[in-house]
Structures are given as C-alpha cells and as structure tokens.
C-alpha cells in the first residue's frame, strides 16, 4: 500500500466532473425561479458543453504527457476514462435535447428534471474515472439515485412509479452486493485501489486467491446489474418500458456506458490476476446475455420494449470486448460511442411517433412513415440498420471491433454465438423498416414535431454514418492509451 505523504488533489484532473456538478447546482437553484424547463435545458446543455471542452483539454494533455490521477490512484484521468467521459457527455447532451418538447407534450415539464440528469452524468463520469472500489461505489450511487427518481417521473402513472420503485429496490440490492465484493477484496488484498490490488494479487506467496476472486465475482455481479448483463438484466425491460422514454434513452446510453467503463477497467487490470474461473463465468454470462436479449427482443410487439431488450443484447456485444481485457478496451470505447448515437436516435424517433403518455409504441405506428415523414423514416432506417450491424454504419464497425477482440483472445465459440444472434437481431430491426416502407398505415397516428429533437436525431444520424465511414479517427485517438493503470 502506497499512500502519498500528503493527500494529492489534482483539481485539473477532475475539472469536467466539477464543471458538470457546478452547472447542476446552478440549474437546481435556477429552477426555484424559472418554472419553465426551457432555460434549465439550455443551462444543462451549456454545462455539458463546458465539461466537454474541459475534457478535450485534459485529453490532449494526457495523450502527450501520460495519464493523470488524483487522490493517490483513486481517481484516474487517463485516455480511456476521458474517452468514456466524451461518450457520457454526448449521451447526456442528446438526452437533454430530446427531452424538452417531449416533457412539455407529456405534461411532465418540471425544471428539476435537468439538474437530476446532470447529477447522474457526474456520477457516471466518476465511475469512468474510478481507480478504486470506493470511488467506483460513490460514482455508482451518485449516478443511480437521480435515475431512480427520473424513472418515476410520470407521477400517477402506475407503470412509471413501478419502474422507479423496482429500479430502486433492485439497484440498492446490486449496490449492496458490490459493497460486499469490495469488502471481500479488501479483506484478501488489503486495499481498495486497483493498482495495489493488482500488486497484492501478483505478489509471490499471495495467500487468499479464492477470497479475492469471490470478491471480484461479487463486484462483477454488482456492475453486471447496472450493465444489464443476464441474468442480472431482469429489471431492464420493465424499467425501460415504464420510465418516460426520454429517461429510458438516458439510462440506456449513459448508465450503460458508465457501467462498462468501470467493468472494462476492472476486467483489464484486476480480473486477469484472479483465478481463471472468474473470466469463464463472465464468458458464460455474456453468451447468455446475447441469447436472452436477442430472442426476447424478437418476441416483442412494442418498439419500446423491443429496444429495451435490444439494449440488453448490446450489453452482450460489449461483454465480448470486455472479455478480451486490455485488448478489448478500444473496442469497448468505440462501441459505446456508436451505440450511444444509434440508440438515442432510435428512441428519439420513437418519441416522435408515440403518444404523449408513452403508449402506442406498437409497430403499426411506423406503417407508412416512409411516405408521411421521409426524413424521419430514413433516419430510423439508419439507426435500425446500424443497430443490426449492417455496413457501412457505426454499428457494423463496432461489431467488427468487438468480434475481432473476442476472436483474438480465443473466444471464437462465443463470437459465433454473437454472430448467430445478430442474425436474429436483424429480423426484429428490419421489422421496423418493413413497416415504415412496405405497409400502408391503417390510421393516422399523432405527428409530433420538435426542432430540438430533430436536431438531436440529425446529429445522431450523421454521427452513425460518419463513424461508420471513417472509423479510424475515433479508434486512432485511443492509440496511445495502452497504459491503463496510472503508475505513480
């Protein structure tokens, strides 16, 4: 254990998180005076942009000067963590953009919505930078608590309240397991800091490998819960369906990104030094997630629930790259970026065609969309094709990267499972396209229009295409990020 003599605080290394937190606080106070959400939404966007700018600054700095950290190695600002921050901020900004008109329309426009989103995003970024298990837990809780509230945002609607309650109870349970795992790991290795845990595990004559691995397994379970990896995914479809769609969007991208940011960091550093059955267990869970997520999505008739299960399935694809450890890091970073763009896009389009009480998300709603709103239908086609992994869109390149990572680390059979389930996935993604272009509508569904959401859909569509056509730049940015554990 190596504590530095004085507590070292490098403010600059967590400036993006601080910026977001300050904006969230300002927005909270602002909400006392201005009850219309529009200005709060804009404030939140400004916060995300400022945090993003600070993040760019840090990223450029640490790309050349090596990884940074703070509080010993408890908070890391290395290129992978900062890259995850980009994705989290992107998801947050897009979620805010699609929220305002939707909330207004649904009668849910309360200005407190936006600070809660920002608090949650702050927690997500702390998770991405966490270098020890306590920081991880703090980030997880900061991220989760606002989302519990947001899930139940539609007051009086049983579905939404049930979603919030369910998510809270199960989430608390998941956190408890994580704490227990952290405690066991501490008991075995004498430290919460990843770097020290790794040092203790790999020291000769380490006495408690089973205890440590058990701790690792419980930490994995806690994170798998947030990442919606089967069999810890049970809450996801209900919560995703019950929560207001804008919150679902936020959850499905930001919470998932944070969970995988934390998971890949542990899987790439700590787990390889534990007993091998831990990774084997994870491999089985990933395979299960792929099968369960895709098959269940195939059976859904509601698009929202289909997208919820599709989010579970994508956790499986991300899991493939997590298995590869350090070699899968870049694939995970790449995939969450692609996933954020296409998933936000898909949910945003769904919000334009469903009722304001979130009902009416059945496929029938999409019938004839190709003729009624060609641009919207085209964007949805892009998102569906990308989620299904059709080139040259972002989702395809993401799949290539994760499958390649899995095959290169010897998980060929699992990659085959992934590919076979991708064929299943295409059926349910294509079903949406089929309805939009090949069917005539039987009734006239509502036509919601929102310029902010249209902008978000445009950004997502453009990003999906550009990331697919020019995958190199985002992948190349990660090039120098081989160093994962910041060494003092």
């Amino acid at each position: 254990m190596s504590f530095p003599p004085v507590i070292d605080v490098h403010w600059a290394n967590f400036a993006p998180e601080i910026a977001l937190l300050i904006t969230a606080a300002i927005t909270t106070l602002f909400a006392l005076f201005q009850r219309d959400g529009r200005s709060s939404a804009w404030l939140a966007l400004v916060g995300a942009v400022v945090a993003g700018a600070l993040n760019v600054n840090l990223f450029v700095l640490h790309r050349t000067s090596g990884p940074g950290s703070s509080f010993g190695l408890r908070f890391l600002a290395d290129t992978p963590g900062l890259a995850f921050n980009f994705v989290i901020l992107l998801g947050t900004a897009l979620a805010v953009l699609i929220s305002y008109d939707y909330l207004k329309r649904s009668g849910l426009d309360q200005p407190e919505y936006y600070p809660l989103i920002l608090y949650s995003a702050t927690g997500a970024m702390i998770m991405a930078g966490a270098g020890d298990l306590i920081t991880l837990l703090l980030g997880l809780e900061i991220m989760s608590l606002p989302v519990y509230v947001l899930s139940a945002w539609r007051q009086g609607a049983r579905q939404s309240e049930e979603a919030g309650m369910k998510y809270f109870l199960l989430g608390a349970f998941g956190s408890a397991i994580l704490v227990y795992g952290a405690a066991l790991t501490y008991g075995a290795t004498g430290s919460f800091v990843y770097a020290d845990i790794v040092a203790a595990l790999s020291a000769s004559g380490f006495s408690a490998p089973l205890l440590a691995t058990l701790g690792g397994a419980l930490v994995l379970s806690g994170l798998a819960f947030k990442a919606a990896i089967a069999p810890f995914h049970q809450w996801a479809p209900d919560v995703y369906t019950g929560a207001p769609t804008s919150v679902t969007t936020f959850m499905s991208v930001v919470v998932k990104t944070a969970a995988f940011a934390a998971l890949i960091r542990i899987a790439a550093t700590v787990y390889p030094n534990m007993e091998p059955w831990l990774m084997t267990t994870l491999a089985v869970l990933v395979g299960l997630t792929l099968v369960v997520g895709n098959l269940a999505a195939l059976l859904q008739t509601g698009v929202k629930r289909m997208l919820a299960y599709s989010a579970v399935a994508h956790a499986g694809y991300l899991g493939l790259a997590v298995l590869a450890g350090p070699a899968g890091l870049r694939a995970v970073v790449w995939y969450v970026a692609a996933y954020t763009l296409m998933n936000v896009g898909a949910f945003a389009v769904l919000m334009q065609v469903s009722d304001s009480n979130d009902r009416g998300d059945d496929l029938e709603r999409f019938a004839g969309l190709g003729r009624r709103r060609p641009a919207l239908a085209f964007a949805m086609t892009l998102f569906m094709l990308s989620l299904g992994g059709i080139p040259p869109l972002a989702g395809f390149m993401g799949k290539i990267l994760v499958f390649q990572a899995a095959i290169a680390s010897g998980y060929v059979a699992l990659a085959v499972v992934g590919i076979l389930t991708s064929v299943v996935a295409l059926v349910y993604y294509f079903r949406v396209i089929t309805y939009m272009y090949f069917r005539e509508p039987e009734y006239e569904p509502p036509q919601n229009r929102s310029s902010m959401a249209a902008f978000a859909i445009g950004v997502a569509a453009l990003g999906t295409v550009l990331l697919g056509l020019f995958p190199g730049w985002w992948y190349g940015l990660m090039n120098t990020s081989q160093q994962f554990l910041a060494k003092m």
């Binding site: 059709i390 080139p391 390149m397 290539i400 499958f403 390649q404 095959i407 290169a408 064929v423 992948y475």
Partner: protein, 503 residues
Amino acid sequence: MISLFVIVVPAVFAAVLALAGGRRSAAVFFGLGSTLITFVLTWFLPGSAGLSVPWIPGFGVTFTLEPTGAGVVLTLMAALTMIPTVLMAARRVERDPGAFVALLLLMQAGLGGIFLARDLVAFYVFWEITLIPSMLLLGTFGREKRRAAVLKYLVYAIGGSFLMLISILAIKPLSGAASYRFADLMAATHNLPGATQVWLFVGLAIGMSVKLPLWPLHSWLIDFNEQNHPSGAADVAGTLYKVGGFGFFAWAMPLLPVGVERVGPVLLVLAVVTALYGALAAAAQTHMKRLLAYASLSHMGIVGVGIFGLHLAGLNGAIFLLAAQMLSTGAMFLISGMLFERRRSFDLDRYGGLAASAPALAGLSLFVLFTFIGVPGLANFPGEFLSLLGAYQHHPWLAAAATLSVIAAGVYGVNFYQRLYQGEQREATHEIGSIEAFALIPLIAGILWLGLVPATQLDKIQQQSQLIATPSATAQAPAPPVPLTAAVDGVNATAVQALGGSR
C-alpha cells in the same frame, strides 16, 4: 482513382436523384447520365492506378481498390447492363420512379465496390451495402407477396454473410497477416494448418453459396425474382449481383488452397445438382419469371462446376459466364418486363402467337434466348463450354452430368419461345417501341462482342485464375506459365471458330 469514381459517381447521382424528388424526367436524366458516365469510366479501368488508404489504423483494415483481373470485366459488363436497366426503370415504374432509379444506382455503386475491392473487410462492406438497395427495391416496389420474399431473402443473405464474417474476422489474427489486403493475406494464409483452413473456408463458402446460389440454399432467388417489380429492372440488378461466384474466385479459393482441396469436391457435387435441378425445374414452369429464375439458377450451377472443377480453363470459363450472364439474363428479364407491359401477366399460357404482330420483338427475343441457352458464337457459350471442359479434366462423370443441363436448356428455351411467340395469336399486340429497342441494343452489342472476341476478357480473367490453379504463386509474383495455358488458348480458339461453323 478511376476505380474510386466508378463507385462514387453512381452513389452521388443516387443522392442527387433522391433529393431532386421523384419526377420521371429527373429519373431519366440523372439515371442515364450516371450510367453513361460510369460506363465510360469503366473503359479506362484496366491499367489505371489503384487506391489504398488505411481505414481503421491499428486494426489492419484498409480501403483498397485495384482495377485488375476478373473484377474489371464484371464491372464493365455491369456498367453496360445498367444503362438499359435504368432507362426501362425510369420509364416503366408507375409510382416514384426517382426512388427506384436511385436504388438501382446505389446498387451499382455497391457492385463496383465488390468487384474492385482488394481488402477483405472492404469487400464485405460493399457486399452487405448492396443488400440494402436490393431489399428496398423488392420490398417497396415488389408484387403482392413481397414481404414474405423480403424476409426469406434477408434471412438467407444475412445468415450466410454473418457466418462469412466470422471467417473474415478470424482469418487475419489466425494467420498473422499484416492487414486485410489481399496481397498481405495471400502471403500469410497459405501457412495456416489444414484444419483451420477448412473451417475458415466453410464459413466463407456458406455466405458465398447463398449468393451464388447453390442448391439447397437457392430458394430465396425464385421468390426474389417472382415478386420483384414487373418491369424486370430490379431482377436485372439482382442478376448483376454476382458476388457468390466472384467471391469464391477472388477471395476464398486463392486464400485457402487446402480448404478448397478438401471442401471443393462437395461444392462441385452441389453445383452439378444445382445445374440439373435448375434446368429441370425451369422446364416445368409456366410463370415467365420463375422460369427465368430457375434457368439462371441452372447457369449458376454451371458456374459452380467451372469454379470447383479447379482447372484453369474452368475457372476462366466460370467468370466469363458470369459476365455473359449479366448481359443475357439481364436482357431476358427486360424482355419479360416488356411482355408484361403488353399483357399484364407473366403466365405463359396467356401468351401465344406474338410473332405475328410483333416480329421484331420476337426476333430480338430469339436472339437473346439463343445466347441464354448457350448457342455457340454468342456470349454464354465460351463460358459454359470452358466451365464444363475444365471440370471434365478431373471429374469426367460429374462434368458429363452437368452437361445434361445444357440439353435441358434447349428444351425450356424452345418451349419459352414457342409459347410466347408461336402458335395461334390470341390478340394482336404492338411492335417493339423505340425505347424498348434502345434498351436492347447495348445488350445485344455486348453479347456479340463477348461472343465474337472472348479472348480479350479471358486474358484479363486468366491473370487471376492462375492464383488458384497454381497456389504456389503469391500475389505479387508474376504467375509462371503453366502447361494448361496452351489448352486454354486452344479452347479459346475453338470458341471463336465455332461462330462461323454453327450458325
């Protein structure tokens, strides 16, 4: 750079057309403009510089285009066939011809990429991109049962190509190649152990067999053609989608010689079955498009026979037949569209005696039909002949069995013509129109050109066939002269001479 333009020009025109709205005049103008420009560009492909830029650096994926070998021949023929196809589509599609033509152009862009890409991942990307426009053409413009046909098409195509993707992703890490470029793969994959080569080859073969298609993975093709837009234009686009045979020839076989050696015989048997089954089923059809679909399935079987016969002559012939098929099958589908326009039916029983009122149409149809069934002197013959000849060298009995399909071709060909044009005339029809004539002229010119001077194209194809026939030759090293070349030259000469003798 020309190879890049061959892909970009149709894609840009498609985008412009999509934005310009669905007016018919715009569809004709931009469609013809794009296909004519692309056709001129393809003329300058042979010998032009290739292109290779990193695509995912650190991952070994490049964007590499090389205008060489068989790819150039197929790009050229596809570009030629696209001109009348776009013309007919722009004139005949009732609703939204702009979107239809835009999808055709996208298809053409993808085809250019498939035939010219020399990076395995780039090849796969184009392969999958091309699926989207063909699926949308079928689903948006197809006939009543189009949704079922789309689903079948997708499940077959995507299932196959995803399995292929596993092999593609695995081939670089397993072989330790420097990148996914053909030359780099070629330098590394031959050292893979036999068992690995076999499963990699099987993965590729499943994806490519679906697209070839080989029996029993063919059934999507029949519904695809039956349910597509009655103008026949979408079927032509499907016919140009010759990725199965080309994929085997340009990628799977040169890269994995041991895989070919072990799995090839199985595929050869399947190809023979495909050739016979397609021909016999075609003879039993009364639906014009189903007949054409089964007939082209039979031809694809012969392509398979040529490819898996693993002989230089057969390899040359198979790719030549692919190129010739683009023209002849394309022309047949356009003619079926012209007939449908006259009678609003594909049922052969509702036709008869059309030759009396439309003798020119009948004459042109007969000419195309002769090509289609492999009459010497016309485009299909050298390909068919060389394919069967090549297979005969090592597998005489299988080749002989496949040859029976050529006889059956005579049966369904004559049957087709008689039921349409001869016999009692039920009602008079109008003679071939000027647009229709303009549509058929380039195809007929191409058919004569391929039939009369096959050697030009065969030479280009042969540069690449030698990579398979002599696996020791690496991609960069010039292939040493092989004894078979003499036989092929002799055969080429025979094919040319046959013109004078037989007609």
